[in-house]
Amino acid sequence: MYYNKHYKRLGVFVRCFMKNVLIVGGGLAGCTAAKQLSKFGIPSILLESSSIIGGKVRDYGCKADSRCSQCGVCLAGNLWEAVENDPNISIYYNARIFDLYKNGDGFTACFLSGPETHELNVTDVIVASGFTDYAERSLGAAEIAPSRRILTGRNLETLLKGRTSDSIFEHEPASVAFIMCFGSRDIKEKAQYCSRVCCGYATRSAKVLRHYYPNAEITLFYMDLQTVNSSPRYMDELRKNGIRFERCRPARIGSEESLPVVTYENSEGLQKKTFDYVILCGAVHPCPDAAFLSDITGLRVDENGFLQYVLPPEMTHVYLAGCASGPKSIYETSADAAGVAARIANFNFGDGVRQ
């Protein structure tokens, strides 16, 4: 059959055995790329800055209410275990790359893993350094009062992951507010772009909250809405569920008697409203190492701080996967990383450049 025929060509094996890929970042993009490369028989070295692979997606919770809402978390599934047990993948934990230089056809990578320094030769490099969550960075900022009832999107994900069959929060909430576009579409934060993911997870999480707490009042403060599902009338469905949409950017998120208070403006003027929980749907900001990675790999930092290709990656042998090159959903990240792996494994066009 056509699936197996080309596997038997000797050239494939020769080329694949010669390749050895360095992957910077052990999150969803890095792990997907490593797993996919391993399926093609290409060994890879995975550098993870913390002591556990999986990055942010590892803590994400399922967002199905009674039905699946296609958030994409299922794609991760048992990926982490599969990567850890894969003989083709060597993982370096607590690693930090500090130099990368051209060496013959490939590169030499110098990195720290814990206290040890390593120097390895590789043929290709995948940069999958991920993103920074704006909300976590801004929790101490002036506009936001410190409160245990103000959660970031990631806190909510952890709660969703740990939810039992009848509760998500400690206390049953009477009202919950989601603040979307938090830190994106924001000139002050130098992030005029749209983060693209918070519409998805805010509306899906709102649906889960509605399923668990039918009487809670759920409000979404938004500026832009992306199309989330291709299902027609997704937004109408949400409205029918009693989820309120308020189009504005709240001016201040304060705190009174340990409950968060949101100050915002709508057509009736300035409003002040107390909620039981406020969820900050943080923007996807570039990874803090982007400038350094751009220095050592020759990639470009774009106007928003994300990494971009200068030349086609087939020429430079430096590839980008996942959110390092801009905000991406789980599906897009996974497809992107798998695509990069296929491009590296692609023997016909290994040296050619697609126009």
Binding site: Y2, L225, Y234
Partner: protein, 427 residues
């Protein structure tokens, strides 16, 4: 490598050219039947050509319409009315809005969502705004049509506007009927209003529910995206990682009753009649090893390579047995059953569970749990729906025999919410 092109599209020559530059040979399927025959041996790219309003797709038509507008009469582009407009229509709308605005006509774009995810669309928005197009993200909208003027009342949640226009462009799309004929012949799943591609298959662009069959809607895809999509399909075809999968179904031809049950239920269209042996046979590259065919086969002629019949060790009274789908529950099981004395049986899909296994488990275990994926999350389409029906049937059957049906539990879980599974098992 040979690749089959099915369906009609004005961009077909371009698609062929790109594929040839990637080193593929193209064969054209003349009819749906032809495409079905060819799909057994070769990968297929199904081309669709969905129709949009002529004003968006035809420059000459659009020019005539624009010149027909009186001074100060606006052109209004309406998105997300009736149902959400697909993302790929937006670049067409914005480009046309720019050209309309540049010919000194007021332009309004009414949309509910922004869709900035499409590459390059931020720049198009910028251009359209600079050219003078007004973009209204509406929340409520009502239209009153009279002879030649449409009165639109639109509210964005803060202000309310009223627009009168002779040129209202509805940006909804009409799916290609012929492509759907081909999709039916190729046994690709279609959804709701006959949409061929649904969200979860954009894992890999163009992928459909059937392996080796891809769908491209060239009528609407932006030209640079078309190239990227074909590249990714080419990459995937050249080095299909699925070829290494181990679990596959196989049919025992001596037992097969040739009843076509498996042919009807297989979600991946991986079974076909083999006339010479008077038995069904498995098309190996298409089989994903979900085991649904094995569960429904009345003659027990189908088995799975890699795993045998679901074996159940005799348990003890007071113990729980959990049948866990390996895509969701089996991953969550480590965390979920930490404090619960339960045995776990991994199953490839909820659909692969037959009544006999549950009945056998009930003999020795005091409680049986079937934990599968949520309905729409099932990788084998209707596997978890099948398992739910199976459990209902078994509950009725054992109820008649005087066994408490409450001993059988059914739960839809995900690996990312293990405590739900724990609660279902601990109850």
């Amino acid at each position: 490598m040979t690749i089959v092109l099915a369906g009609k599209s004005p961009q077909k020559a371009r698609v062929e050219e790109i594929l040839r530059s990637e080193g593929f040979e193209c064969v054209t399927a003349a009819s749906p039947r032809d495409a079905k025959e060819l799909s057994r041996d070769f990968p297929v790219i199904l081309l669709g050509n969905s129709a949009v309003d002529l004003f968006l797709s035809d420059d000459v038509f659009a020019f005539r319409k624009i010149s027909g507008l009186g001074a100060g009469e606006p052109a209004v582009f309406l998105l997300d009315y009736g149902s959400d407009t697909p993302d790929y229509v937006l670049p067409l709308v914005l480009r046309r809005a720019v050209s309309t605005a540049l010919s000194k006509r007021p332009v309004f774009i009414l949309a509910r969502s922004v869709r900035s995810g499409i590459p390059g669309v931020e720049k198009l928005y910028f251009d359209a705004r600079n050219a003078g197009a007004a973009i209204i993200k509406y929340e409520e909208l009502s239209i009153q049509r009279s002879d030649d003027i449409c009165e639109i009342s639109v509210s964005d949640g803060i202000y309310r506007y009223t627009l009168g226009t002779p040129l209202l462009v509805d940006c909804a799309i009409e799916e290609d009927k012929e492509a759907i004929e081909y999709a039916k012949a190729l046994r690709i799943h279609t959804y709701g209003s006959n949409r061929i591609n649904e969200d979860r298959w954009f894992l890999s662009p163009g992928r459909t529910s059937r392996r080796g069959v891809y769908f491209l809607d060239t009528g609407l895809i932006v030209s640079d995206r078309l190239k990227d999509t074909i590249f990714s399909i080419a990459d995937e075809l050249r080095r299909s990682p699925d070829a290494q999968q181990e679990t596959r179904a196989h049919v025992d031809a001596s037992k097969c009753a040739f009843c076509y049950t498996c042919f009807r239920v297989c979600p991946h269209a991986a079974l076909e009649p083999d006339g010479s042996a008077a038995a069904m046979k498995v098309i190996q590259p298409l089989c994903t090893g979900c085991g649904i065919c094995a569960a429904v086969c009345p003659a027990k002629a189908i088995g799975l390579h890699g795993i045998g019949h679901i074996g159940i060790e005799p348990g003890s009274a007071g113990k729980t047995l959990a049948f866990c789908c390996e895509n969701s529950a089996a991953i969550a099981a480590d965390t979920a059953f930490r404090d619960i004395d339960a045995d776990i049986v991994r199953i490839p899909c909820g659909g692969s569970l037959d009544g006999e296994s549950i009945a056998a488990a009930l003999k020795t275990y005091s409680r049986v749990i079937v934990a599968v994926c949520a309905d729409e999350a099932c990788r084998h389409f209707d596997g978890s729906v099948r398992s739910m029906k199976q459990v209902e049937k078994i509950k009725q059957a054992v109820g008649k025999l005087g066994v408490d049906p409450g001993r059988i539990g059914f739960v839809r879980v995900s690996h990312a919410a293990p405590a739900v599974l724990r609660d279902a098992a601990g109850r």
